[in-house]
């Protein structure tokens, strides 16, 4: 049965269809036994779910909620007090408020009496007192130096925070690498991290036979798989820029996997050979015309170590996105799929 029809039958069972479509499907169910059976199956499934009873809150629910609210409010109030300007927490060692500086200067200047100035007009104390009164002509240098120091500290910190991959065991290295990847406008879209042997592809119709083959144009071809739908394979075959002989040779060595229930079970041997054992994380990239499965450590290594990755230029508007790991060759991206 057509998937669109099945989707509409679920919506019909849920009362979510527009009146016209609802009437149409109800008439169809009257006349077509298969549709009627399908609708009954859907309704039966929904009824079965209703067998799970309603859970009522326990007696402690409200008491615990009120306590949590009280604790949170108290915590917020404490935090608010700590952050008030002028509070003890805000008086950091080594920081002098502008008001305090002015008043200190005023006292110092006043402490050098008028008579002392008259008696020793060129003395150091008089000159310092005069400078405090008038202000140093190079006072702004202090602010420049302070700003430069802050910029330096910020840059140093951001360097270490933005490139945590220098420590491969850092737990968030993958996330940071993914973020950097996604921020690149020409990058394929990161989709998810897969940890089992099953790839979810709910948008690909059931029964579709996917072609799985190693990535053809990366140094890590043994650790990256590409999944094509038959339509995409046909598109590759009809692409005159591709070497047809090499493409067919690669296809002959490829594996097939069928989409069932919105998922694809990766052949265990293929996964073990190219992507590590079933527990090893695999990054799924959604690319124009295909999905790419990368061994997570390999992708991370590419993002961290591969200098060419940073040099990949933004593609022209009429060209598809550049596949990952492809050096900036200037060739049409379609060629990158060539063996």
């Amino acid at each position: 049965m057509d998937e669109q029809l099945q989707e509409d039958l679920v919506a019909l069972a849920k009362g979510e269809l527009e009146p016209a479509r609802q009437a149409e499907l109800e008439a169809l169910a009257e006349s077509d036994a298969a549709v009627r059976e399908e609708l009954e199956q859907i309704r039966g499934t929904l009824r079965a779910v209703q067998r799970i009873g309603v859970v009522e809150p326990s007696a402690e629910f409200r008491v615990t909620l009120e306590k949590r609210i009280r604790d949170s409010v108290a915590h917020k109030e404490r935090s608010g007090r700590m952050q008030r300007p002028g509070s003890t927490a805000m008086r950091l060692p080594g920081v002098v408020s502008p008001g305090a500086r002015e008043s200190a200067s005023r006292i110092d200047a006043q402490s050098v009496s008028e008579s002392a100035r008259a008696a020793r007009p060129g003395s150091l104390s008089v000159r310092l007192a005069e400078r405090r009164e008038t202000g140093s002509p190079f006072a702004w240098l202090r602010y420049v130096a302070l700003a430069a120091a802050m910029v330096l500290v910020t840059l140093t910190l951001s360097h270490f925070l933005a490139f945590p991959a220098v420590a491969p065991e850092h737990p968030s290295a993958t996330e940071v690498a993914m973020k950097r990847w996604v921020e690149r406008k020409d990058a394929p879209r990161w989709d998810r991290v897969l940890r089992g042997d099953t790839l979810e592809l709910v948008e690909v119709p059931d029964g579709t036979e996917l072609v799985l083959m190693p990535h053809l144009k990366t140094d890590a071809r043994e650790e990256c798989l590409v999944a094509y739908t038959p339509d995409q394979i046909e598109a590759l075959r009809s692409n005159p820029a591709l070497n047809a002989q090499q493409l067919e040779a690669a296809l002959a060595r490829s594996f097939k996997a069928t989409v069932e229930g919105g998922t694809v079970a990766l052949p265990p041997l293929l996964r073990a050979r190219h992507l590590g054992d079933s527990g090893a994380p695999v990054v799924v990239l959604r690319c124009p015309g295909r999905f790419e499965l990368w061994s997570e450590p390999v992708l991370r290594r590419y993002l961290r170590d591969e200098p060419r990755m940073e040099a990949v230029p933004a593609p022209a508007a009429d060209l598809p996105e550049t596949p990952p790991g492809v050096p900036s060759t200037g060739k049409a991206p379609a060629e990158d799929d060539r063996a």
Binding site: V10, A11, G44, V49, T64, S72, V202
Partner: protein
């Protein structure tokens, strides 16, 4: 009876009793939403309290443009995502047969909460299969399914709650029902079709 937005408005102006009314009105729905995600009442209560706590602490941020339920379940979804992130490393697949400290399995615990106290063995088996089937759904399908089937939210409301197009809601709902059918069919195979009988019985 005052509407949810009216109560929120009063609460934002300092009327604490309005918050109590909102809790009373929505606690069972939220609790059951989380219960079907975690199958653990204590944890479900904890997550429900977290939603109300966030509602309390951010009362000024509510704008009555969207339906209150949508707003509430959006907080619920965020709490659920936070929970998943927090427990990513420690979560593991729970077996229906795994027993708790009292020697009860998850399937038994859920069946014991069923509305009908006259639960038969066959019905418990079906309930267990339903729990297992819902648990096996991918998270995004599960959220859509529970919001629709358990909370009774319309596709449009689910779309606003999860911030996804209505078409995606429809598609996910279809895939969820399809997977549930397949799972129930497999689980109850050879048991002389009690899930089908049970379905007929409750119709």
């Amino acid at each position: 009876m005052k509407s949810d937005p009216e109560l929120m408005s009063e609460f934002a102006q300092g009327e604490e009793s309005a918050f109590d009314k909102l809790v009373k009105r929505h606690q069972v729905g939220l609790l059951n939403f989380f219960f079907r995600l975690v199958w653990d009442q204590t944890l479900a209560e904890d997550l429900t309290q977290e939603v109300f706590l966030r509602l309390y602490m951010h009362r000024e941020e509510y704008e009555p443009r969207a339906k209150f339920t949508t707003y509430l379940y959006r907080i619920g979804r965020n709490c659920w995502i936070d929970y998943l992130r927090r427990t990513k490393s420690e979560r593991k697949v729970r077996s229906l047969d795994a027993q708790d400290e009292n020697g009860h399995s998850l399937a038994e615990a859920v069946a014991a909460r069923a509305e009908d106290p006259r639960s038969t063995v066959g019905k418990d088996e079906l309930t267990g299969a339903v729990v297992e089937a819902i648990d096996a759904l991918p998270e995004e399908h599960k959220l859509v399914f529970i919001l629709s089937e358990v909370q009774g939210l319309k596709y449009q409301e689910i779309s606003e709650t999860l911030n996804i197009p209505v078409g995606t809601v429809k598609s996910r709902m279809f895939h969820a029902v399809k997977r549930l059918r397949e799972h129930l069919g497999r689980s109850m195979k050879g048991a002389t079709g009690p899930w089908q009988e049970a379905a007929d019985e409750s119709s």
